[in-house]
């Protein structure tokens, strides 16, 4: 069913009784060419690109709960491609370009809002680091601007410029960055993939891998029975180690909690997406009016999906330091997601040592912005058995060879990325 203002108006006349399910409620078939484990943004996007770009439509997406119930449904919705290292830069820009056409591709309004992402800097050293990163972006054909203090003041007069512990000196701006409505991204891919024949199977938990005589993965055991597969792709960030363990794999990944927060809805206050350079705080304002913000991960391995109080305080301290105008705005809700923290802070999209099993993992706390790009390159890998050129460095063996992609320079300590 085509969505538009006209279909809405027509539906209104019939009391909206004629709308179909946004995606078909599929029952699992015996076998699919490709089975994707994980009905989050990445898994659904992979399925859609498999169907739309690579013509592989006999695809199932298996979701243990309801689609989008993992990190796709609990993030702070930022999209950007302001990365500084080869491997990341091109990939995230590919993703950004796909964001820019997503809604028309999917016939679903995901509220992609290119309102600008600005990383504030507070020292000469930070400025230089952002200049380096901005230049990387520009060399890769990505928009980037280095703003001085005056430009930041003009754009965000409400920041604390007068008595800050770490005064703002400027910022790195990517105007094409912004936000998107996270749930709608999931529903949009589900809607479009389902229209192309992809089966989206909810409440279907994978409990094991089926291996043939050669050890090749030939299907999955699930809570809804065995499902055969030509290839199996994992897109289960947060649970990657647990699922990989069923195939006997250990990954260079730890699971950590990242909290996010939303305030009560208020009239427009913050025009863009901002990150504070002297503390752990980033913020945007949703179209509904809530300030959506977050900061650092809690710092220890966790699958508990809830955050602690010290980090909540730390984040609010950052917010107040940056813009003390939010003191009386109330925090409405706090939640926590499980992050696949990789050993260099960058993702892994690769074949695994187990034939027939493909891995899409290690997104740290930055997976949302990667959703379309990740789906695209993972679909490529599944369809062609070779990495897409923009994902060529996201190899699993890079830790063995030393070709890490470490934007923060923190090394093999996941909680510092």
């Amino acid at each position: 069913m085509k969505y538009s203002i006209f279909s809405l108006a027509r539906a209104a006349l019939s009391g909206h009784k004629n709308w179909q399910r946004t995606w078909r409620d599929a029952t699992p078939k015996d076998r699919y060419d490709v089975v994707i484990i994980g009905g989050g943004g990445h898994g659904l996007a992979t399925a859609w690109f498999l169907a739309s770009e690579y013509g592989i439509r006999n695809v199932a997406v298996l979701e243990k709960g309801w689609i989008g119930s993992g990190n796709a449904g609990r993030n702070t919705t930022i999209i950007r491609s302001n990365y500084g290292l080869p491997g990341n830069t091109g990939f995230y820009e590919l993703s950004m370009k796909l964001w820019e056409r997503m809604e028309q591709d999917l016939n679903y309004n995901a509220m992609v809002s290119q309102r600008g992402v600005i990383n504030l800097y507070h020292s000469d050293a930070q400025r230089d680091a952002y200049a380096r990163r901005g230049n990387t972006m520009r060399i890769n054909g990505i928009d980037a601007e280095l703003l001085d203090l005056a430009a930041v003041k003009k754009m965000m007069p409400f920041l604390n410029f007068d008595n800050a512990r770490f005064p703002v000196q400027g910022g790195l701006l990517q105007r094409r960055g912004g936000t998107a409505r996270h749930d709608a991204v999931v529903w949009g891919y589900a809607h479009a993939a389902s229209e192309l024949g992809v089966d989206i199977i909810q409440n279907c938990e994978v409990t094991g891998f089926v291996r043939d005589a050669n050890g090749k993965v030939s299907g999955v055991e699930t809570s809804r029975g065995r499902i055969g597969a030509g290839k199996v792709g994992m897109a289960v960030a947060g649970s990657s180690s647990r699922v990989a363990d069923m195939a006997g794999l250990r990954l260079p990944i730890e699971s950590h909690v990242l909290q996010a927060f939303v305030s009560e809805a208020i009239k427009p206050l913050i025009p863009n997406v901002m990150t504070f350079g002297a503390g752990h705080f980033y913020v945007s304002q949703s179209d509904k009016g809530g300030l959506v913000f977050g900061g650092d991960i809690d710092g220890y391995n966790s699958y508990a999906q809830r955050g602690n109080l010290p980090v909540m305080e730390d984040v609010c301290e950052g917010g107040m330091a940056l813009m003390p105008m939010i003191g009386r705005v109330r925090l409405l809700r706090q939640w926590g997601g499980i992050m696949d923290m990789s050993m260099d802070g960058s993702p892994i999209i690769d074949k695994t040592p187990v034939e027939g099993l493909y891995l899409n993992a290690g997104w740290c706390y930055g997976g949302f912005k990667a959703t379309p790009g990740s789906g695209f390159v993972f679909a490529h890998l599944l369809a062609r058995d070779t990495p897409h050129e923009e994902a060529a460095r996201f190899r699993l063996d890079r830790f063995r060879t030393g070709a890490m992609i470490d934007e923060k320079g923190q090394g093999a300590q996941p909680n510092l990325h």
Binding site: R250, P252, E254, N301, Y303, A304, F399, P414
Partner: protein
């Protein structure tokens, strides 16, 4: 979270720093690259009870081995690292 430091007693999370899984043991000097790769990069990433290295840096500066459930955050045991309080160890 509150951790019962074996030296200081129960203290709040903010006094501690996390390092990670305490199970991997630093390989011997001649163990070879593969063993060190495994030690540095691969993780069991346990969903359940796990032994972890924590540092009481905001307190007595002891490194601790904390047994904690990553699903519930429940801590079942805390012991000092081998070299914390080692002066009591026979020389």
């Amino acid at each position: 979270m509150r951790i019962v430091c074996p030296f200081c007693g129960e203290r709040e999370l903010g006094e501690f720093t996390y390092l990670g899984d305490a199970k991997p043991v630093r390989p011997a000097a001649d163990a070879g690259e593969e063993a060190v790769y495994d030690y540095v990069y691969l993780r069991d990433n346990v969903a359940g009870v796990m032994s972890e290295n924590w540092y009481h840096g905001g307190g007595c500066r002891a490194w601790l081995k904390v047994t904690r459930n990553t699903l519930t955050h429940e801590i079942s045991a805390v012991e000092p690292a081998a070299g914390a309080g080692a002066a009591k160890v026979g020389a």
